[in-house]
Assembly symmetry: C2
Homo-oligomer: 470 residues x 2
């Protein structure tokens, strides 16, 4: 679709007024007004879903070194990418403060104060805000950044491992709904032991695939077991009067979901925004001649008001520029639906509607059904984006039965699946052979399967995959 | 009203589930679920007003030392309170990065890239987020903190000084509306030369007064003139084809507005929230007996649904605890209106309503006017809080005509006003004599006034004030 994806992506986020990457710190950009509105709509979707299950809170951005260092595995996982505050004014601080890379070690000391008894459980909270990673790899706006400005992280504590396990499923379901709203397809994998979240029992991850064939991790859900509870002494008195450590989960998503929607749906003309996050869902372009201009504008306003009233985000584009230039910028900004209305249309009591997703032009009669017809079209646009994206995604999944075919399949741009016995050694070996990243296992096989591990030939336990990753 | 205000305030923000100050860094606290909802409602008020005039954006939280240091006066004003990031992972950074104390030096390098011509002007943007101050003074939750989590700052650039001056008025008007929404009274002063924002031409400031008689600065509006434009080289080609520096303003408010609403309206029983920011505006308490419980609950739900539909934030409190305990916690949380409904009320087709602001109990008939009657009551509550707060505030303003009376008036807990010639020397001297802070001038006098400066006896130009401050 787009020949040089990387160039296209960098270009579109600047020209469409999303992010200005020219801020004088590498890996940190400025959210421009249009981008900010997309982000705001994304947050609304996330918040509405999260609020059903969690309480929103806000924790400090700084974490004392002592807290961050308490969980050995956790700090080891992050020690190379933490920004440290060491000075306050002209003075050296007594204790270094970390810019949170993630907030487990900010939140769990407070859990330890809040939780006393089983009646305090479950606790389910979330927060949204910035986290920081001192990335040493090549940074890219929204994809690999040093300030993750739109990180939404949830943290839960439970009185039983079963309840924590259920929460993992809830987290996964919420994330599916978020990705579905943006028509972003995904593969869910259980990350292998050697690539799970530092400190977790296990990690479930969502990966999507970009037009250049590389996968991007867009969400993770972690079962933390009792590891952090033991480190931060988070105990509760259970119904039998005994003290027990809580069972915890955490999960997070970020700006990368927005980046994915932009990357996956966009085309040569620019953005193609899913209606759910489009700052403007419908733009009305009055086609004006000297004669009858007023009537046309009146009707445009009437339609605008009717759509607004029904919660459609709509605006009139009456900029005094050439229609060609106007349509070009409307397309570049990815506005899902364009309405054109001129004197001749008005006379015929019709409007012309043009879809951004497939360019289809059609006419609608101006009557009592107009608003619902336009809303139907917006739903169609979403469904079409969803179908197209999933079709393409599913085509990029390729199951190979011979280890020798893995490299070729990856070269073709596939997420390459294979049967795997589940052993760490085999997994790491397959990763090495493929020369790419081992995403994990996406499906468990029946015990009586006749499939065998592509590497060792023993009975397979999972379907797993490798892919080029960001 | 409250004997030991400081103790009361610390107590209420913890017991009412607003902020947990026990986070292991001094001056940084956790927004708890109820507090977070108050903050969210506050942000909604601010955002709705700001969006009419500005575009929302988001700039990085870190500022390179080189940028922060460019404006000499500005950096001097902040150098003792900036947190510095000096390490990334295990490495020392090449350049120190500041945790923004405010964002002029983050934003204006971008303005310099964005602005070329008069058609790019005006630019009016805002952002909300955390800023940081390494406070060496005694910290207090929400009042003097090291992470200001709810800072909303606006930045504008204009093609003429007149337009910038108009923007100052717009900023002041917006802030008045915000404070009015929360029924927080204020005095607007032009800060004296020696206390203006570092780098500004002049600073207009809003101060409110707390129950302990101390004033708190709750908002500032700055005319930056061309100082930063010259530092950051922000020029535009004017209509005559000449290059000119832009004229800038900036203004900011924070968590302190929420703290003020809590402090000013609260009483011995706890919070008294203005309806505009109350997470729950109406709580319905079903009074249940075995007989008729179902009918009562049905009616409660019916009333709840009708209120919800009309955008009233309402919930049913059916916790199985003693009524006394329930009422205590409802009052403590500051819920503006409590509805009680039992079988006898249902039979009489009435509900009992109890106002939090004045404790008044009354009955309302359950009919088609019920929702609008309840909304009227919420408006009355707002108006009453507003009137009470302003009455008290106005009483705390005292104009003295003799310099000797200043100290005594301050001792009585007043914001003490006096006539002032406008000279810096006199102003500083009056500040010294009063032993408190010089807030600035709140009113300009006519040229033919017969009032004289309380210090030097020359003709007065302003009414100015001193007060105990936070």
């Amino acid at each position: 679709m787009v020949e040089n994806f990387s160039e296209w992506f960098h270009n579109i986020i600047e020209t469409a007024d999303i992010i200005d990457p020219r801020y004088p710190i590498k890996g940190m950009g400025v959210w421009l007004p249009y981008g900010f509105q997309i982000r705001k709509n994304f947050f609304k979707i996330v918040t509405d879903l999260m609020d059903k299950e969690h309480d929103e809170t806000s924790f400090p951005l700084l974490i004392p070194e002592e807290e961050l260092a308490k969980e050995g595995l956790h700090v080891k996982g992050f020690e190379d990418e933490v920004y440290w505050v060491t000075k306050g004014g002209q003075k050296d601080l007594n204790e270094k403060l970390a810019l949170r890379p993630t907030s487990e070690t900010a939140i769990y000391p407070m859990f330890s104060l809040w939780i006393r008894s089983h009646i305090d459980l479950p606790i389910k909270i979330y927060q949204k805000g910035s986290t920081f990673r001192y990335e040493t790899k090549h940074t890219r706006p929204m994809i690999r950044v040093r300030e993750i400005t739109s990180f939404v992280e949830s943290h839960t504590a439970h009185s039983s491992p079963e309840e924590a396990e259920e929460q993992i499923q809830t987290g996964i379901e919420i994330y599916k709904q978020i990705f579905d709203s943006l028509a972003v397809p995904y593969l869910i994998s259980k990350r292998p032991e050697w690539d799970k979240f530092p400190g977790a029992d296990y990690t479930m991850a969502f990966d999507t695939v970009f037009p250049d064939g590389k996968t991007l991790q867009i969400g993770t859900v972690h079962n933390l077991g009792q590891t952090f509870a033991k480190t931060f002494d988070i105990t509760f008195e259970n119904k039998d009067g005994q003290h027990e450590y809580v069972y915890q989960t955490c999960y997070g998503i970020s700006d990368r979901v927005i980046a994915s929607a932009i990357a996956i749906h966009g085309d040569k003309k620019g953005l193609v925004l899913p209606p759910a996050i489009a700052p403007v869902q419908v733009v009305i372009v009055p086609i004006l001649f000297k004669k009858g201009a007023e009537e046309v504008l009146d009707k445009c306003n009437e339609i605008k008001d009717a759509l607004s009233k029904d919660n459609v985000r709509v605006k009139i584009d009456d900029r005094d520029i050439r229609p060609g230039k106007k349509f070009f910028s409307i397309e570049n900004k990815g506005i899902p639906l364009r309405i054109e209305l001129g004197p001749r249309d008005l006379k015929a009591n019709k409007i012309v509607v043009v879809r951004r997703d497939n360019g289809e032009k059609s006419e609608l009669t101006i009557d009592d059904n107009l608003v619902s017809s336009i809303k139907d079209l917006l739903n169609d646009i979403h469904d079409n984006l969803y179908k197209k994206a999933w079709d393409k995604f599913n085509k990029s999944l390729k199951l190979v039965e011979d280890e020798k075919d893995i490299k070729e399949s990856i070269k073709e741009g596939n997420i390459t699946e294979f049967y795997w016995c589940g052993d760490t050694e085999c997994g790491k070996e397959i990763g090495k052979i493929s020369d790419e990243d081992f995403l994990g296992s996406s499906e468990d096989l029946d015990e009586d399967t006749d499939k065998v591990c592509v590497h060792c030939g023993k009975k397979a336990k999972h379907i797993a995959s490798v892919a080029k990753t960001y």
